[in-house]
Symmetry: C2
Subunit: 310 residues, 2 copies
DNA sequence: CTGAAAGCGCTTACAG
DNA sequence: CTGAAAGCGCTTACAG
């Protein structure tokens, strides 16, 4: 079973009776070359007929980088944000002849280095990066219009609208630029609303540890009546801990999630959360990476899904 | 800011005063060439000093495929199986100079084709494939020893041990080779235990649909006292549906998950599930892909985490 | 309007 | 023990 030899540009050239150069110019739609319509048609037909697909590897060697974009993500993510972001990024890259690959796990520089050496991607993106900054994204990334700041405002605003003033922000154990940004934005919005600065709490897994952490929080900060969680996952831990402590939710303690997962829809009580559609974030990130005009797509503003936990 | 030109084999050869060929032979540890120890040392030192890293792209062009392995995964997965599988696969590939990349989303052939064209990976693996088959994996993949069959036996056996005889298997809406395998293996093990063939049920999202589906199941198959779910995620839907119907768990209906997620630990009632560590599966899949000796690693047999739902 | 040629960086059969 | 050379498949400046 010899692997069928791949169809190359040479084959296309031979089949259409032109030189490889000419075939290449036609297929690349090279604007600095004028090729007769007849030749163009012949070359295109031959390419189609032979099922010619350019070798990405050869192209990458020639051009200095491949048409691959690598997205680095940490482990925990299953919310709507990640899914829709990746969907958007993927679709937009595909529309411009690029391919998205994701790299999982904790990312030290050595691993990234290895990938760069292995496939020389056009770009390496860290998940969540454009969500925080968005400098060049006209207020879309970290901004107040459909960005992280806006989503934080939705979360804290919902709690405030239900009369909560002393809020704890539950962040994951491992800090990152994104947790910092969340903290900063949350504090800023609380201030805007005239609320005291939120205290930060770590509600770790497994369940018993989370419960212990919530008990400590209640002891140290008895005024806290609501928890704003970094993710639904962490909000679910808050729910479990509250239950272990015999606290009623939302009576004794309100809990609001972030990024609306299915787990939140099914929890007891059902979790109130911020729903975020990041497809446009993904699309714009793709365009920005490819140095294309960002376009006029507006990010979805997000909304609170009010269920039972606030 | 001119990008610092990459260090090539030519640079190493020049720096150590040998030809490119000789440098190449040394760095590849080519066994058909005898190179004097002095030369070898000079070349190695120069490579180290210059920070030489071979270009994966050039190598791929020359060798016909890159040292990249692509893992295709569908969307929903966040259990221990996937994490540990990917961890093992990644580590083992890395140990042999390869890099793992994952491709997300539903995988039509066109997308796969594009990736193959773009980076010519050494292999493309579908997530879960080796879990089902495992022909060449000495009973490890689909087999009864630390494989899918064994894990299914754990799940159904736990239900049987609690006196359940009429079991429903909750499969995802979208069928695949893996759902087929689960069904087949579940039916087989039920038969082994002398139980009637399990009925299959689809408990879809959103919550209301899942509830309706469970109601129909109860109407049609009133004898069913337990649900064995394809994943924890689906088990959680069963829990939500049972709650909506006023059913007590496990009193009126027992539910057992699969692949032990954090969501199951936090649910109400807490979910009993099958815990699976697939690191060895991942490692052996890597070795098999690379045509290496599978080694002597034994897969973790898995175990039931008994909580409150059975 | 079209073609011959160079070169991206590597591996390795072949000739000394 | 070491080197000159071919070739993987592409793109594109240059010469006709």
């Amino acid at each position: 079973m010899a692997t069928p030899r791949r169809v190359t540009l040479n084959d296309v050239a031979a089949a259409s009776g032109v030189s490889r150069s000419t075939a290449g110019f036609v297929l690349a739609d090279n604007p600095n070359q004028t090729i007769s319509a007849a030749t163009r048609d012949r070359v295109r037909a031959a390419a189609r007929e032979l099922g010619y697909v350019p070798s990405g590897v050869a192209r990458a060697l020639r051009e200095g980088s491949s048409r691959v974009v690598v997205l680095e993500v940490d482990w925990a993510y299953d919310g709507n944000y990640a899914r829709s972001y990746i969907r958007g990024l993927d679709a937009e890259l595909a529309a411009h002849g690029h391919v998205l690959m994701v790299r999982h796990g904790s990312h030290d520089d050595r691993a990234t280095e290895q990938i760069v050496q292995a496939i020389e991607p056009r770009a390496v993106v860290r998940f969540g990066e454009s969500y925080m900054t968005g400098h060049d994204l006209e207020d879309m990334g970290g901004g107040w219009r459909g960005g992280l700041a806006a989503h934080v405002a939705l979360q804290i605003g919902h709690l405030a609208a239900h009369g909560h003033t002393h809020i704890a922000l539950a962040l994951p154990t491992a800090h990152s630029a994104l947790t910092e940004a969340r903290h900063r934005l949350t504090a800023r919005h609380a201030q805007t609303l005239g609320l005291p600065a939120p205290v930060v709490v770590d509600l770790p897994s497994p369940r018993a540890s989370g419960t212990a952490a919530l008990r400590r929080l209640r002891g140290k900060h008895p005024q806290v009546t609501a928890i704003a969680a970094f993710t639904d996952e962490i909000a679910l831990r808050a729910l479990g801990a509250a239950r272990d402590l015999g606290l009623s939710v939302p009576g004794d303690l309100a809990v609001i999630g972030f990024d609306d997962t299915e787990g939140g829809e099914l929890s007891v009580p059902a979790l109130t959360s911020v729903h975020i559609d990041a497809e446009v974030h993904g699309r714009r990130a793709a365009r920005s990476l490819l140095n294309l005009d960002p376009g006029t797509l507006d990010p979805d503003p997000g909304h609170v899904v009010a269920r039972e936990s606030v």
